[in-house]
């Protein structure tokens, strides 16, 4: 019997689904709580075959992945994938490098740079996001120069070092929703629309999930995006435009609890299957 090491810091509904899916397949699950585990290579007990990183903390999860990779354990996702997907600027760069369509973007560190960058992006509105962050937190839609000055000043005065690196993204008008595709090993297993009257559509912020048909076009761009960041288990967020899809963000520890019911797809089961396939 194979054992799946589940790296976590809290057990959310998503982790419960993964645990249940594994148990149905007779895959043993070892819960590895990063808050109690000592990551010392001399003392760490390797009693699992493959690890799935599900830490809610990106920083702690990244360290756990690197530790286990160093010990030779297969980890989902790879540290390189986590590094790129955990940082929106690095994700944008990776997509642009292989010409996967994505909104225009820039990284700046001062207000003057931001003003210039926004001109080159095509003007207001733009979105300022923390390069490292999630759940739609601290996103700011900047409609004019007054808003820009205010947000940049707040970041400079109140923010930590990461907040002072200002990631700017072109604002894309949405038809009341965006799309989240669940991509495993380069294949879209299902997708949802995230409907919201607010411009932020994260389900963590109230976006409502409904099934989105998986088209050839959607599959193609998601496969390209997956390859651009190194593959694995990914949730890819997309915008629909009149010119086709744009990749917005890619998440490497995806939340999916609200998506199994509308899609009718057991995402948790597919996650477990993929992890087991990684065992040599």
């Amino acid at each position: 019997m194979k054992t799946l090491g589940l790296i976590h810091s809290t057990i959310r509904a998503d982790e419960k689904l993964i645990i249940e899916a594994a148990r149905k397949k007779n895959i043993q699950v070892k819960l590895i709580d990063i808050r109690t585990q000592i990551f010392n290579p001399e003392t760490f007990v390797l009693d699992f075959d493959v690890a799935l990183e599900r830490s809610v903390s990106t920083v702690k999860g990244d360290y756990a992945i690197k530790f286990l990779e160093n010990l030779g354990v297969p980890v989902v996702n790879f540290s390189e994938v986590a590094a790129v997907c955990g940082d929106k600027f690095l994700t944008s760069l990776a997509l642009r490098k292989v010409t996967v369509p994505t909104p225009d973007f820039a990284m700046v560190f001062t207000l003057n740079q931001a003003v210039e960058a926004i001109k080159k992006i095509g003007g207001y509105p733009v979105v300022i996001k923390p390069a490292i962050g999630s759940w739609g937190r601290l996103l700011a839609k900047i409609n004019d120069s007054d808003s820009l000055e205010t947000v940049v000043e707040h970041k400079e005065v109140l923010g930590g070092p990461h907040q002072k690196a200002i990631y700017i993204q072109q604002y894309i008008e949405k038809p009341g929703h965006d799309i989240r595709a669940f991509v495993i090993g380069g294949k879209v297993i299902c997708a949802i629309y995230r409907d919201s009257k607010h411009w932020i559509t994260n389900t963590a912020r109230g976006g409502v999930a409904s099934n989105c048909p998986v088209t050839k076009e959607l599959s193609k761009i998601c496969k390209q995006a997956s390859e651009a960041v190194g593959g694995g288990i990914l949730a890819i967020d997309l915008f629909e435009t009149k010119d086709g899809y744009l990749i917005n963000e890619i998440n490497h520890t995806m939340e999916f609890k609200n998506s199994e019911e509308p899609t009718g797809v057991s995402i948790s089961s597919a996650i477990v299957d993929y992890c087991v396939e990684q065992v040599g």
């Binding site: 976590h8 809290t10 249940e20 903390s57 490292i132 962050g133 759940w135 998440n251 939340e255």
Partner: protein
């Protein structure tokens, strides 16, 4: 008969209760509850986390606040 079946499944579904560390109200827990699982107290609405499960006793603690790097 129908009500009886519902009662049986309910009793299987609810494993035990534990005391909310914030308001002392009993918090219902499912039979497959795990250590580190976050649940909500239906009385005070607080997010609480399962700290330990020993025999039939579950201890809850206040869940940690969301931090800057939390997410997907």
């Amino acid at each position: 008969m129908h009500v009886h079946i519902i009662n049986i499944s309910y009793s299987l579904f609810i494993y035990m209760t534990a005391q909310c560390p914030i308001c002392d109200a009993p918090v219902a827990l499912q039979s497959n509850v795990e250590v580190s699982e976050v649940v909500n107290c239906t009385d005070c609405g607080s997010r609480v986390v399962v700290e330990s499960i020993a025999s039939s006793r579950v201890m809850l603690a206040q869940a940690p606040n969301i931090e800057e790097d939390w997410g997907e």
